[in-house]
């Protein structure tokens, strides 16, 4: 379970589907019905073509490690050193996350390594999408 000392996200009307999704064990992105752009973070219109005709879709949960830092200072809810990572989802968008089930070292955290999403419950409303090295 995610440490409840972490900064807690506050869902908004535009992002509720995302947090409903992680609670249900699904990583939800959005796709434009007009231009097919898949995008993140959530908003009820397409940032590529401005269309309001967009759909929510379930992502595969597969990703690669795009970049990261290993943070050495104390932050509530974290035990340093810990990686703050940006992952690139198989569907294209990137998102910030943490890498779990993996030593937090430059040797273990290789750029472009394959990852898969895991869901870490913070409280009854919020479940965070984290990533671990892919098992297959």
């Amino acid at each position: 379970m995610a440490d409840d000392q972490r900064a807690r996200p506050q869902p908004t009307p535009e992002t509720k589907h995302f947090w409903d999704g992680t609670r249900a064990g699904e990583l939800r992105l959005q796709k434009c019905d007009a231009c097919a752009k898949v995008y993140f973070p959530p908003r009820p219109f397409c940032p590529a073509c401005s269309s309001r005709e967009v759909s929510v879709m379930a992502a595969s949960g597969k990703a690669t490690l795009h970049s990261y830092v290993i943070h050495h200072r104390k932050v509530p809810g974290f035990t340093p050193p810990y990686a703050i990572a940006v992952v690139e989802l198989a569907e294209g968008p990137r998102m910030m996350s943490n890498i779990v089930d993996c030593p937090q070292t430059p040797e273990a955290l290789e750029l472009d390594m394959r990852l898969e999403v895991v869901f870490d419950k913070m409280d009854d409303e919020i479940t965070l999408p984290l990533f671990r090295p892919a098992k297959d």
Binding site: A7, P9, Y68, V69, R73, R94, M96, N98, L128
Partner: protein, 380 residues
């Protein structure tokens, strides 16, 4: 609208720099403003335009006793002052005002009446970055660095040379916070902050500020100071979330602001005698050199390692010592602008002999925003 018809006539930093325990943030603005007014023989009655970022223009105008007919409160981080210069130049050229005061003051170290920066939990940053453990710029700004290093095969030793070379410039500057020489080993053995960056690759935390006074180039001739003309300007923004930068090896905001300014100035890169690239962290000069076109993609680290930006070299870069060694209050852009003005006036501690054109490039947030100003001491 007449282009290239505006000049800096007044410029000064705060009287003190580094640790200023006896001044609140608004007084740092005023201290710099009064110094800049004294520099060019003006008082508050002569100012009809004001711009600032850490305080509002309302706070500034009231505190200094100015009744402005033009204000700009653009606050997009540390390059806000480059953008203020750009907007002020356009306003003067358009006849909206005659004499603009741009101030910066920040009690970044002593934190006396500093306005806290908060991230709402419902903002995109609050929902999609903060839960994963960042704590301010040292944890966020270096996030793209490993991708940049892998893409171009840059080594930790090359990256460390940014800090080493800038310390050489700082050693010539009595006002610089850090002046002792550095080696690559010193940098790579310093305390780890956020791998791959160590403390000597992160900016200082300082109290201080600065102010600029701009007017028409025509009026500038009547001032006691040597006019520093504005040849070209640029600005842009990309994203408030470093995780959402389109390309981790390049800043889209840099790639708009820098080339826009260079094109407006009508200069070639080889015309540039002096360069400031806002260095909150050691990778920024690399991105700046590439995004502004001074070197090709992936060439910046070798360029700096090869001492092409060091004292005596062809492209003097961050000649005050930069945010890494001179001072950094939180929003550093005003200090970079002050150094460009000093170089164009011929009064910099590490003066570049015969310099005629200076490019001053700023960043705001974590690659969120950018502003570029090109100065010259030659009338356009």
């Amino acid at each position: 609208m007449r282009q290239k018809s505006v000049a800096v006539v007044g410029a000064s930093e705060t009287t003190g720099l580094g640790t200023i325990p006896n001044m609140s943030q608004i007084q740092l603005h005023a201290d710099a403003a009064l110094n800049a007014m004294a520099d060019c023989g003006l008082t508050a009655k002569d100012i009809d335009g004001v711009a600032c970022a850490t305080e509002t223009p309302v706070q500034l105008a009231h505190y200094l006793g100015i009744t402005p007919s033009w204000v700009d409160g653009t606050a997009v981080g540390g390059c806000s002052f480059m953008i203020h210069v750009r907007h002020a130049a356009a306003a003067i050229e358009a006849g909206l005002c005659k004499t603009v005061l741009i101030t910066h003051g920040e009690s970044g170290k002593s934190r006396i009446a500093q306005i806290p920066r908060t991230i709402p939990a419902g903002s995109l940053n609050g929902q999609f970055e903060q839960p994963f453990g960042p704590m301010g710029p040292p944890s966020l700004f270096p996030i793209p660095v490993l991708r940049y290093m892998k893409t171009y095969g840059v080594t930790h030793e090359q990256m460390a040379m940014v800090s080493v070379v800038q310390r050489e410039w700082a050693a010539m500057n009595p006002r610089a916070t850090f002046k002792d020489s550095l080696t690559v080993d010193d940098v790579l053995n310093s305390r780890m902050i956020a791998y791959p960056f160590r403390i000597l690759q992160c900016c200082l935390v300082s109290d201080g500020g600065g102010a600029l006074i701009l007017t028409s180039a025509e009026r500038a001739k009547d001032f006691p100071t040597k006019p520093v003309y504005i040849l070209g300007t640029g600005e842009s923004v990309e994203t408030p979330m470093v995780s959402q930068m389109a390309d981790f090896t390049s800043s889209r905001a840099f790639s708009v602001a820098g080339p826009t300014a260079i094109k407006a100035a009508g200069i070639k890169h080889s015309d540039v005698d002096h360069l400031m690239i806002y260095d909150a962290f050691a990778h920024l000069p690399l991105y700046g050199l590439e995004d502004l076109g001074f070197v090709g993609r992936g060439e910046a680290a070798a360029f700096i390692e090869g001492r092409n930006t060091a004292p005596g070299a062809e492209l003097p870069l961050n000649t005050n010592g930069g945010g890494l060694s001179y001072a950094h209050s939180g929003m550093y852009g005003m200090f970079a602008l002050q150094e460009s003005v000093r170089q164009m006036r011929g009064t910099a501690p590490a003066q570049v002999a015969g310099a005629k054109i200076s490019v001053c490039h700023g960043v705001g947030g974590m690659f969120a925003a950018s502003g570029t100003i090109i100065f010259s001491n030659q009338a356009p």
